[in-house]
Symmetry: C2
Subunit: 209 residues, 2 copies
């Protein structure tokens, strides 16, 4: 499944660096040192240099990096030099919040469709997207060329929804449901369970009180 | 910092099991086997038995587990047999969505205060909670006995906000900002970066196309 030998922790930091660089571009900054990037995102400058070295030499000793060039490289590496149409399945509180979350679109993840099984939700609008029935899944995925499925349905239906997404051509699943999903080896899966994150904290807080 | 020798992956599954059991209670189910739990959440039944064995013997061979008893045990282990007052700093799109997300309160994480630096946001209401200025942090944390701080501010101010939360008495930080935060060893930290999760997918999708 992993087609590239970069540690995931590095990919995560590259994503963070790229957003810091975006901020510098917005502020009109032209060049930046690894020390400055390190200070801006909260890692060591040795770590910044090591992470960037995976992808060749971008900087000049004593001068640093050209912000726009480095930003462009990072966005390309992260696959963000293009749009990634996405579909959300589950228009509950969390699905709706994600559909309205502008942080996704800002990075090229455009939510092109939102589906739900609940007749009361179907036809309601989240920004400009109308909630549609689950039966629209295959059609929307094909016509919008969607490769990312965001699963925000309850645990009981999450696997079924995921199977349907994959059957319809989705290549990556972002799972927000409290369910351990099975996907074929050629499909990418990431789990984000917001409550679980709090519960790992409460579990540990119990012992440090 | 880790006061208990349970792998984090186990804690995460315990959280998932507990929500499955809650569903069974809602459905009026009285007893459950490890096979049924395994099927319900998508892991192997050997894994379920191993995870539960960390905390002693709950089940009876051939009979399974009493749903309410097991649920009670898990909630206690996870620290969820009590309320965890929380504060959100950053009332932007994401902070607002999290404040309105009912999944937190359902598990005992009550958002007791929401702060923002933006004068335009201060005074607006999210459900019943009014957005207040950052200056209220220390007072709210003390009077509401808040131990969990949820950071949803931009990267540039995330460390500063985190330092203030810790100075005010918060013991655990859930970080949604795209910044690598530093916390003292006696403070718990978890990072949840929604965009990063999508970007790890897009990074890898780039190579499987």
């Amino acid at each position: 499944m992993k087609a590239y030998k970069i540690p995931e922790a590095t990919v995560i930091r590259l994503s963070i660096y790229s957003r810091y660089l975006q901020q510098l571009i917005d502020d009109g900054v032209k060049s930046v040192s690894s020390d400055e990037i390190a200070g801006g995102v909260g890692v060591s400058s040795a770590q910044v240099r090591k992470d960037l070295a995976y992808f060749g030499e971008f900087g000049t000793r004593g001068v640093g990096y050209k912000v726009d060039v480095l930003y462009g490289h990072l966005m390309k590496i992260l696959g963000l030099d293009r749009k990634w149409p996405a579909i959300i399945v589950g228009a509950g509180k969390l699905g709706s919040a994600l559909a309205l979350y502008q942080g996704f679109a800002a990075r090229g993840f455009n939510v092109e469709a939102i589906l739900d099984a609940d007749a009361e939700k179907i036809g309601t609008k989240l920004d400009e997207i109308e909630v549609e029935p689950l039966e629209m899944m295959s059609q929307r995925i094909k016509e919008k060329n969607i490769s990312i499925g965001i699963v925000t349905v309850p645990a009981a239906t999450a696997q079924e929804v995921t199977d349907k997404l994959i059957d319809s051509g989705v290549k990556a699943i972002l799972n927000f449901s409290p369910r351990v999903l099975k996907v074929p080896p050629n499909v990418l899966l990431r789990n984000v369970d917001l409550s679980v994150n709090l519960e790992v904290l409460s579990f540990n807080l119990n012992f440090i009180k």
